[in-house]
Amino acid sequence: MIIKIFIIISIRKTIFLEKLRMLETKKIKSITSVRKFYFLDYFYILLLSVDRFWKMEEIFESFKILKQLYQLGESKYKKLTSESMPTKKQLDRYRYTLEQVIEEAKEYYLISEEKNGKLELTKSGIDLLKIAETKGNREFNLEIFRLMENQYEAFKYIINFAYEANKHKPGLLIFPNYSPSQMGIARKSIKCKDDIIQYLNSLVQRLEYDLEKFIGRRPNLVSHTNKIVNRLENSELLGKNKKDIFNPRDYNKIIKRIRDYWLAVFLKDIYHYEFSASSFDFWIYRGKQIGIIQVSEFFPNFSGRIVYPTSIISEKVNDPDFESLYEYDNGQSLFVHSLMEHQNDEKFVDTLVKYYFDLRKSYRGYFINLLALRELVCYSLKISDYVFEKLLNEVYKLNILGKLKIKISLEVDRLPEETKAIYLKREPVIVDGQVRNIIGIDVTKGGRKR
């Protein structure tokens, strides 16, 4: 009995100390100190691995297997050749990722390291693992989000930053990317420095035009052409004279440098982001998984990346479509636009139909790509992929029951991961338990307006 009481007291003491530590560290860290990985699922597989093993090597083995099992990493939707063994380079990368995840998990007091180097789940870690297993991925991500925001308030910064950067189209950040061929210049015709300058000049005009349309002002970007050319000269990718022919093998390198340059200019000079570009990347992709920031690299008729918040930071909201996910110390909260009420079905269907017909103009067939439609609907309604999937599931059920004014047909074509030809990092749409990637809508049934 005495032993039992002793154990209870010591457990309570540990919990108390954990809470104390958390309170002590309630200083907001710089958002640039974030560890370098995107996938929140990494926390889950780390917790699973630490739960089962304690030796570092065993944890690594388990982490590696689970990483492959859940297809986490750069090639999430590419067909993985599971039979092939990871190379030494890949293993080093996995190890680096594991170290990063461990470090961040320690910050959130999900795991602790004993003096002998043994890793253990803390009470919070055990609870979080339970949430993942009983409530699913969504709840798990939300919990991780709260832990992150507790320490970094990075999402608050990024969301406010986006609304501040673009008031013309509130919160929308564009990062256009036009290759020479998209500018109407054939690759074959780009041989010397002068050809690159021609490309850069037309690119500048296009980017200025885009900015005027998207953010409502037209900054002069001409001076950047010289800066890029100087940089390319300094790194010996281009020669000194206009007619100097560059090594054709460097073509891709040159184009990539130009693209990266413009990305940095957009982020720092145009939108005035204060931190590193990589920190921006990590936080927006984490925000996308939580459903508070939307990122798209495949937006129809736009070449490049777009980012926009599907949430706001405010003290209160006067609309039932918002859901509070986090409360800050200053009384503000992060509200996500969740549109989860049933009365939104009609609005969702109208938007779905509107953009279905819009896309049909270009696809010219009954079936169109569901992922492309999702991009348009999410942007129009400012909702996340998660909310889109929820609403689509809801209206699809109504459709099957014949309770919808239109007919929706969702089908499975070949999936991206089943082909070697395309490589897409896009979240699939799952409806009625099946991955769907094409959609057909028939409005004749109810005569809904197009």
Partner: protein, 464 residues
């Protein structure tokens, strides 16, 4: 001047053929390449089809299905055409199915099978909204397709022709168009005109071994003892089917009675070609998928139906790449997997992989459309006004997708026709015009700057 005498100032000029300079009577390509069999336009009704493009697929079906004797009870009864290209739509599966049906029905497979088989083919197109998800609606589609193919009229005519030849050996059937002959044989007036005895013919037909044990209200026996008798016709068959209320009665009608009826008209098999099969399981629950597979097994392989006993009906399902995974479990649980495995490797005889077009296919594809609208028999080249490189460029831009290639070719030709003096289309012309929204097929879709989007702060009514 009196208005009766007044003339308009501008004269009507004769329209000249815009495509004449390309040695074409019209633009041969469809602007919207989807197969519509009801259409009279050969560009979209599937009549223009270059068999060589799908030679490999056809030969596999010919060697493993059409040429195998129907009397061999172990012949394949269920096959799958599975798309193995990465994009399933517009790859030409529907057009190929139409072509296959046409090949089978043109000589009822007698030529292909070297007279071992006499088979017909019907095509089913499940409804995209999921209405074909039950087996009953599936068999409804089979019956309507049988009606639309005209096979019932052909069988009725065959029975009568045989009866006439046996009862009136000296009656001369004039050499005439088959369609006209079928029409005449199915007409009461023609019989009267030719002085043929209705009762004698009917009694001869009904004595056939195949037609014994039928329900008394089966269309062939209808009105038998009435004062004013008529030949049974297609509408009697339709009416009879509509009046059947129970699914089991419908199944018996199609898979036993109709099978015997077809045999009495010398057919020994029938092909049911099902396009876009996934439109059925996509809407089914796990239970419904299994039930569907069980019913399919019963009518094709081991049910109490005449069709299953003889292997009369053979079914070929057209599947997109992701579909086998969708139905694998139902196939396994229903036992269909043992009879016709869907999970097996593509080199098995009953699985026909449907591959992506190649460069050569693209040349053949455009060549066969151009040939149909050629003005002179001898053009500069088969693909004139396109040169080889320009076609390859079109194919490349269209990701080797048949529908996209045809569509792009249509708009390229339109553009070229409007340019004076242009008589040849080369690679440069394609590259230069690729950005044209009509040609690239990406016209007038809203781009992000034009899209309406909610302002969340306004919606939340936040004061800034």
């Amino acid at each position: 001047m009196n208005k009766l005498l007044k003339k308009p100032k501008l004269k009507i000029t004769k329209s000249h053929n815009r495509y004449g300079k390309f040695d074409l009577s019209e633009n041969p390509f469809p602007s919207e390449p989807t197969v519509n069999r009801e259409s009279s336009d050969p560009r979209i009704n599937g009549n223009i089809f270059e068999g060589k493009i799908r030679q490999k697929e056809y030969e596999k079906i010919r060697d493993n299905f059409l040429m195998i004797s129907q009397s061999d009870l172990n012949h394949y009864r269920l096959g799958y055409i599975i798309d193995s290209s990465y994009i399933g739509r517009g790859n030409g599966k529907s057009a190929f199915l139409g072509y296959l049906q046409h090949l089978i029905n043109s000589e009822f497979c007698l030529d292909i099978s070297k007279e071992k088989n006499k088979c017909f083919a019907v095509s089913i197109y499940p409804e995209p909204g999921g209405r074909t998800k039950s087996f009953q609606s599936f068999i409804d589609s089979i019956f309507f397709s049988i009606c639309n193919t005209g096979i019932i009229d052909i069988c009725l005519a065959t029975q009568r022709l045989e009866a006439i030849q046996n009862i009136y050996p000296n009656f001369e059937i004039k050499d005439k168009d088959n369609e006209l002959l079928i029409k005449e044989l199915n007409s009461d007036e023609w019989l009267k005109w030719e002085g043929l005895d209705f009762n004698k013919l009917r009694n001869y037909i009904l004595e056939s071994d195949y037609l014994q044990g039928f329900p008394s209200d089966f269309p062939l026996f209808k009105n038998r003892r009435m004062l004013f008798e008529n030949w049974p016709s297609l509408s009697d068959f339709k009416q009879y089917y509509f009046d059947l209320k129970k699914t089991t009665d419908k199944l018996t009608f199609i898979f036993t009675h109709l099978v015997n009826f077809f045999q009495s008209a010398n057919f020994n098999g029938g092909y049911i070609l099902v396009d876009d099969f996934e439109r059925i399981p996509d809407f089914q629950s796990t239970r419904q998928k299994k039930d569907f597979a069980l019913e399919l097994r019963s009518v094709l392989f081991d049910g109490f139906y005449e069709s299953a006993k003889l292997g009369f009906f053979n079914c070929i399902l057209v599947l997109h790449a992701g579909v086998p995974r969708l139905i694998a479990e139902a196939w396994l649980e229903s036992g269909l997997e043992q009879r016709s495995p869907i999970g097996s490797h593509s080199d098995t005889a009953h699985i026909i992989p449907f591959e992506k077009l190649t460069k050569e296919n693209a040349l053949l594809l455009l060549g066969c459309y151009l040939a149909k609208f050629r003005l002179k028999s001898q053009a500069e080249s088969v693909t004139y006004p396109f040169d080889e490189k320009s076609i390859l460029k079109i194919a490349e831009y269209s990701e080797f997708n048949a529908a996209k290639i045809l569509r792009m070719a249509y708009y390229i030709l339109e553009k070229a026709a409007s340019q004076e003096g242009l008589t040849k289309i080369d690679e440069k012309f394609i590259i230069e015009n690729r950005a044209d929204p009509m040609i690239s097929g990406r016209e007038s879709t809203s781009s992000i700057e034009d899209l309406d989007s909610i302002d969340l702060k306004k919606k939340a009514k936040i004061k800034e």
